[in-house]
Every structure is written in structure tokens, then in C-alpha cells.
Symmetry: C2
Subunit: 421 residues, 2 copies
């Protein structure tokens, strides 16, 4: 049998476990070396393929590849780059196929969110049209958990665990201080359109007096007066109030609360940071002492507190993607199928990319309490297994001993270069 | 032998390991139950003593007390409350001694920073003056690491580990994204006067291209143009720039950079958040895409990633405080004495409270590189052992299973109440 190459690229915002998927792809490819010659990675995602800036992963020893399982971020570099609309401009797709052909690539693995699955689907169509045999497999990844067709997306469970752990810890802290000092704590978490991450913070609350007391979801319009009266009641009842706010909350007019007119010393709009907006609002309306935190990249990079479930699923989907390709499939994506909530059992399923592309799965309304500030029992049942288990990385000198690959460049084979749009 | 009571209170900002000291105090007291009748805790710190709002820790089972070792925050509540100047107003000190006498308290353990050690010292003096036999022992605690006479302070090592782990993880993330997206990441850490925490983030940098590339210390005056040119050079050289900024940095005029004139939509000063100030400055001057995070309470509450060294030292100093009291000592504080850097060895020493009170230990200039943006080898040698080792808490349902005490009130014995100033 002629051995062919595989191509793997990471796309969009990285996560604590996207490298675990890469680990699954590369290890499973190495186990099938009679069929797969080697895995070529795109440096900085699909841009690496377009510009023929390719990485020869065969230069990495097995131990380094194994280390990807516990290393956050995108080991080959990722990118935010959306390919042209295929109906308007086919040149990028043609270029990809040229590069793939030049490097004898017959397996294409694209690890990303909705946009990337759409791209993978289109490349599959074009390869078909051209008669170039290419197995195109998407591998889901997104901290936002907004991909359809899969019960959950790798990357989400670890962010979920991080935010739930963090608000529990900060809640304990504020409770200690509230008598004479801080009474309100606001933690801003990711989620511009969907409140999955904010909802996960709700797992930390087991008793009514536990943090978080109030969650602000992007799905629920922010009503200032109602919110303020709830903060006031919470402090009266529990002595303090711990709040989790999604970066994407909007007011009744549909404007982002984070963009509500803050100006720096020079009069420029102060972008980002809905936590300080909420905290200072509370201070102005209620005169309560506050603290706020913005977790930002810390939450999605926090491999040190990754969910074991998440790591295992990310790895399993990487392996499954290769097995699907070896089975001759294309234009599909391995998914997580939930078999039962408690005990939690899952298996790997399969979705067609055309059913995945460009659809956002938002938090169902019945996952949010009627008052709009908390999560319901069905939401807990869904989320709880996703943060289960710890999967600590190895440490050296008190710090996680993450791997750094050599990322050896592969010699170019095309004489043409390509200008990115 | 007549059994007497001990009093324990937590003071000021809480930490990930102050409860480990409480654990040491209570366990060692229980082991010496022929001498120490029981440990009475102040609810919300010294305020609990002043208002006779006391907690009977004997109601807590041994397992709950053992759980304090891995539970962040102040289990009995802390407070920010500075006693009156003894020379001007003695009433608070008299009240404390009245409460102690009413509850047969002969051992006073005060777990806090410089102010608290000063208070402990004064109470000792006044008890002497009154002829009331009271052993007054301070137990050091501060995330700021600014206490003198001790090699380091419990609470610091765990914050240090948290910020070093966090900037390493975020650095990996930004490195992956930098080709087409975020090129600059700014992490704000605690430290209003002393740069110990910011310095600890520097441990994450093992190679010149590792995060953090630039550290902004409160000890070094912030020079905008110099800083901007360094960010520019860093991005040119490494493709990205990861920055750690201490909340307390000041410009050449001595003003906090965080207060540099930001105004909210209503024209109110936007306090706090030097990270967004630095990030937007870079965007304005260099046009680079940025992200920023403010760790705030997350850093000092992060028991999930506590330093093993820190936990062991916090616990040991709690035990040592009781042993000092039993040895008849007063007006002293157990300290950490460093015996060697590598291998790291330490023992418990002893300092007189009068030598500790109200002195701030700032970062020595030779711990900061000459250019003012990094840490030196002596600084690494000092800091490295303090973040060594992991000491994970137990988990339940994917979350740290921290204890919550019953905090049973002790019946009041005084007919008089006390109004706090």
C-alpha cells in the first residue's frame, strides 16, 4: 500500500486541550504508519497550508507528542483567518489543494469551531469536484460550547471547571472579608453570544449562600434596576454577593454593557471589561465596596486545572478523526454522544459537516432559572460531568512542565508563493 | 494544672493558606489539652473579640479542623480594622483584656500582617502593665511578602505560584494566536507597594522568548516611551509580548498609573485596573491587538494551585505559635529561617514583635534587572523554592471540596457591649 501524508491544523482561539486532540491525531497516525506516512502540520493554522509554511511533525520524538496531551495552547500556532466565500473566489481553495497534492496529503484534519467545519466541508466538496482523493475530517474545538450535533465541545469542560473553581475560591475569600471590607465580587468570563461558560460557574453554588449568587447571561437582557435590587437583597441576606458576568451581556437596546460609554483619559472608548462596569455601577447605586476580576485568557489556557473528562474527550476525538479518515470517510466530524448523565457515560459519534457548519448552539432557556440569574437542575445535570475529574500536568521547579515542539519546517515543493488576503 | 483557653483571630486580607495556620494552632492546642482547654476564635477577626462575638471551635470535629489545611480564605472571618493608637485611646485594648479575662483566655494568637503584629505587641505590653498573664504570639500572614524578620511570609508562595503558572499558560496561548490575532497580553497582579508578586511571575520565564517578557514593578517608576519601545522590540523579536504589571506602579510624578484619568460614561473616575490602562496605551501607540486579565482575588484564593512549601510553612507556623505560648513566651512571632537555597531547607525561627511591627520589606533593587523589567538570578534563587511542590485539595463533583465550619457562637459573659469606632 502506498503511504500518504496527513495534514493537521489548529484554528481560531486555542484551548487548554486542543493539543490533546493533536496528540490523538499524531499518535493514531503513527500507529497506522503502514497507511499514513506522516503528519504535516500547518504553521499558524490554515495560513501555513496556504503559504506552504509546513511543519514536519515526524521530527518530534514520541515523548514530545505525548506531552501535547497536557500542554495548553496551539502547539503549531493557530490563526483567525476565514477563507474567502467559495462562490466568489475559489483561489484559496485551489491553492490548498495544490499544496496538499504537492506534499502527497490525502488526509485533512481541521481542528476548530463552526467556521473551520464549514471550511473543511467546502474543501471536501472542491476536492471531489477536482477528483482529488482527500479525506476531510473536522475535529471540534471551542471553549464556547456552541457547536451543534455534539453533546459538548472539547475545550469547554476545562474552562467550565476553571470558572467554577475560581468563583468558589473567590466566594470563600469575599465571605471572609465582607464584615468590614469587600461585599461584592464580580468575575467576568468569556462568552460573547452564548452563556455556557457563565452557566458553568453556577456549578460552584451548592447552597443558596454559596457563590455565585447572581449570573449575568448574554441570553438575558440586562436590566439595571432589577439587578441592583437583587444585589442589595443578596448582601442583606448573605452578607456579600458574588457575581459572574458573561463578557457578552447586552442591555434592552441590544448594546453590549461593556461598551457603555467608558472613556479613557484621552476620551477614547475603553473597550472590554464588563466586570469593572458592573462593579462601579453597584458602587454608585449601593455604595458597596467591590473587587472585580477578568479571567480572560487565563480561563482557556488553564491546563493546570483542566477537566479530566475534557482531556479524555479531546484526545479521543483526535484519535477518532484519524480512524474515520482511514475508514475512507470525508466531510464528517467525530462528536461526543452522551449515553447517560449519572453515571456519566459517553461515546464517540459522527456528524456530517454540512449539519455542523455555521450554526451556533445557545444555552436553552430552560437551563436558566426563570428570574434569569441562575442555572436550573437540567443545566446542572448537563454541565456537571463535563468538569469531572482532574488531570494534572507534570511539574518541574514548581511550574507545569509543558512541552515546546521543535516545529521543524518542511521544505517547500511549490515554486509559487501565495499572498494572503 | 488548670486548663486555660486560647484565642485565635485572622486579620486583614485572607490567603490560600491562612486556614492552614489556623489548622496548626487548633490541632496543636488539641494535642495539648491538658494545658489548653480550647481555642476560641474571633468572628471576623479582632472585631469578634471587641464585641464578644466569639466562636467555640471545640464544636468542630477533628475532620473539619483537618480540612482547614486545604481550605482557602478565613474560616472564622477576617476584618480590616486597625485598633486605636494606644497612646491616644486605650479603651479598645482594655476591652480586649476584659473579654479575654471573662473567657479565661491566657493565650492570644493573632494571624496577620504588620499592623496585626503591632497590635499583638501592644496587647502584650498592656497585659503586662495590668498584671494579666497573657501569652501574645503573632503568626505571620501576607500575600505581599513584605514582613521583615522572616525569610518569607505564608500566603505569598501560593500567590507566587498562581501568577507564575498563569502567565506561563497565557503566554503559551498568546504565542499560538500572535500570527493573526492577539500580540500583547497584560496580566495585572497584586502588590501596591512591593513587587514580590510581580517578581514571582518572572519565574515562568526560563528562555528569553518565554512569558513574561516585561514586568512592571511598583519599585520602578513607569516610563511610557521606554516601555513602549521595549514592547515594540519584543513583538519584533518574539512575535508577541506578555507583560505582568503590579497594580501599584506609578509614573515619574508618583501617581498611580491605574488612576491615570479614566472616566466612566458618567465622568466618574474609573478606579482600579492598571492592566486595561497599559493595554490600551500599547494599542494607541503601537496599534497591536491586545488582551488583558486582572486576577484580583482569584490569585490569593487559589488554593487549588497552592504551593506545597507555602502550605507546610503556614501550618508549621501555626503549630510553632502554640508551642511558643506553651513555653511561656510572649510578644514574639514564629518566622521562616532559610537554611539553604538548593536543596531548599528551612526551619522555624523566632522574632520579637517589636522588630516586626510596621516595617515593610520591599523588593531589593538587586532582585530587579538593571533595565527594570525583569528579575535577576539572586531573585530566582530566593523565589524558586517558595513555589515548589503541589498540594492539591480533595475534589467532589469536579470541584475542590473545601470545608465550611459550623462556627458555633460562644455564650457572652460580659454584660457590657462595645461600639466599634
Amino acid at each position: 500500500m502506498v503511504r500518504r501524508n496527513a495534514f493537521y491544523a489548529q484554528s481560531g482561539g486555542v484551548t487548554a486541550v486542543i493539543n490533546a486532540s493533536a496528540c490523538g491525531v499524531i499518535q493514531t497516525s503513527r500507529e497506522n504508519s503502514t497507511v499514513i506516512n506522516g503528519v504535516i502540520a500547518g504553521r499558524n493554522g490554515i495560513i501555513g497550508a496556504l503559504t506552504e509554511d509546513l511543519i514536519d511533525t515526524s521530527k518530534e520524538p514520541n515523548e514530545a507528542i505525548a506531552g501535547l496531551r497536557y500542554t495548553p495552547s496551539g502547539a503549531f500556532g493557530s490563526c483567525r483567518y476565514k477563507l474567502q466565500n467559495l462562490n466568489k473566489d475559489q483561489s484559496e481553495y485551489d491553492r490548498l489543494l495544490d499544496v496538499f497534492e504537492a506534499h502527497d496529503i490525502r488526509y485533512f484534519f481541521y481542528n476548530g469551531g463552526g467556521d473551520s467545519q464549514d471550511t473543511t466541508n467546502k474543501i471536501s466538496q472542491l476536492a471531489d469536484l477536482r477528483g482529488y482523493p482527500l479525506s476531510c475530517i473536522g475535529i471540534p474545538k471551542t471553549v464556547d460550547n456552541d457547536l451543534p450535533m455534539t453533546d459538548n465541545s472539547p475545550g469547554f469542560g476545562s474552562v467550565a471547571k476553571y470558572v467554577a473553581v475560581s468563583i468558589r475560591e473567590a466566594g470563600y475569600d469575599v465571605a471572609s472579608m465582607s464584615k468590614t471590607s469587600t461585599k461584592v465580587f464580580v468575575l467576568e468570563v468569556m462568552g460573547r453570544h452564548a452563556g455556557w461558560i457563565a452557566a458553568a460557574a453556577g456549578l460552584a453554588q451548592e447552597q443558596p449562600n454559596d457563590a455565585p449568587h447572581l449570573i449575568l447571561f448574554p441570553e438575558i437582557s440586562f436590566e439595571e434596576s432589577d439587578f441592583i435590587s437583587r444585589v442589595e437583597n443578596c448582601v442583606a441576606k448573605h452578607g456579600y454577593c458574588a457575581i459572574v458576568v458573561s463578557e457578552g451581556i447586552r442591555n434592552a437596546k441590544g448594546d453590549f454593557v461593556a461598551d457603555s460609554g467608558s472613556r479613557d483619559a484621552f476620551g477614547h472608548a475603553q473597550l472590554g471589561g464588563v466586570a469593572p462596569v458592573i462593579a462601579t455601577l453597584i458602587e454608585r447605586r449601593l455604595g458597596l465596596k467591590y473587587h472585580w476580576a477578568v479571567a480572560d485568557y487565563l480561563q482557556r489556557a488553564a491546563r493546570h486545572i483542566a477537566s479530566k473528562t475534557d482531556v479524555e474527550q479531546a484526545y479521543a476525538l483526535g484519535c477518532a478523526a484519524v480512524n474515520m479518515a482511514l475508514a475512507g470517510k470525508t466531510a464528517v466530524m467525530p462528536t461526543i454522544e452522551r449515553l447517560s448523565d449519572d453515571p456519566y457515560r459517553w461515546s464517540v459519534g459522527e456528524a456530517r459537516l454540512e449539519d455542523v457548519a455555521n450554526i451556533e448552539k445557545i444555552l436553552p432557556r430552560n437551563f436558566i432559572t426563570e428570574d434569569g440569574y441562575g442555572i436550573t437542575p437540567p443545566c446542572r445535570r448537563y454541565l456537571s460531568p463535563l468538569i469531572a475529574g482532574e488531570d494534572y500536568p507534570p511539574y518541574r521547579n514548581g511550574l507545569p512542565n509543558y512541552v515546546r515542539l521543535k516545529n521543524t519546517p518542511l521544505a517547500k515543493r511549490l515554486s509559487t508563493s501565495f499572498n494572503l488576503t
